[in-house]
């Protein structure tokens, strides 16, 4: 094993990453509605995994002496895809609220409330469910 500073750096990155992952999952349980719940996993957990991958890069560099780009590839891929999946899930939520506005096991209004309507005659750009009578397809009502 290399010097103790390297040990401390690797351990710190692993502990930080695991803590962030745990905090993100705790937010998923703790927060009141789906729009708030999205924040925990998509931000904190992704950041935690980034920290853990940084620790892994350091570990394999300091023990094996070679830079490995696998971790960089994984973290790049995750950091690109996390906002996309969060956007898709938010669209599913808005779509669900629009299609059946009073089917509520859900609590659409957390502390943040519903998002404000975009403007005048337009609506959120979710899709129309096939077979429904909803007219809101993409933008114009």
């Amino acid at each position: 094993m290399t010097g103790s500073i390297a040990d401390i750096a690797i351990s710190a990155m692993i502990v930080l990453g695991a803590s962030f992952a745990l905090i993100g999952s705790w937010g998923l349980v703790r927060l009141p509605s789906l729009m708030e719940r999205l924040h925990g996993p998509t931000k904190a957990t992704t950041l935690g995994l980034g920290g853990m991958l940084t620790g892994s890069i350091l570990y394999f560099h300091l023990t094996g002496g070679a830079w490995s780009l696998h971790e960089l590839l994984i973290s790049l891929f995750l950091f690109i895809t996390a906002p996309i999946s969060a956007n898709m899930i938010a669209k599913v939520h808005l779509h669900h609220l629009r299609v059946n506005p009073d089917d509520d096991g859900l609590d659409p209004t957390g502390p943040a409330g519903l998002p404000p309507a975009p403007s005048g005659t337009s609506a959120w750009a979710t899709y129309e469910a096939p077979g429904r009578t909803s007219t809101a397809a993409t933008s114009e009502i």
Binding site: D7, A21, L49, F77, T81, H95, L106, D107
Partner: protein, 89 residues
């Protein structure tokens, strides 16, 4: 010291996966379940990375990369299905 950090990481991730499972079972909406599954995939990738550090082997990174891709595609497929009623149109 690294061994202790890895043990702490495994404990945190196990707890995180249990919390995700709770949200996956409880719901209440389908969106919550999708979020829970997405988070479970991310935590599983973290577990794979930690296993790679604990065993000092680089073999597991392909598994982590593939799981990252499959998890993202799975999330998008769920969302597309709920939005459109179809995945590939």
């Amino acid at each position: 010291m690294i061994a202790y950090a890895v043990s702490y990481g495994f404990a945190c991730l196990a707890l995180a996966l249990c919390l995700n499972l709770w949200r996956l079972i409880k719901g209440p909406t389908i969106g919550d379940r999708i979020v829970a599954l997405d988070t479970m995939v991310i935590n599983a990738i973290a577990v794979i990375v930690l296993i790679g550090i604990a065993t000092a082997s680089v073999i597991s990174y392909e598994a982590a990369l593939i799981l990252a891709m499959v998890g993202f595609i799975g999330t998008v497929a769920y969302c597309k299905f709920l939005l459109r009623g179809d995945i590939v149109e």
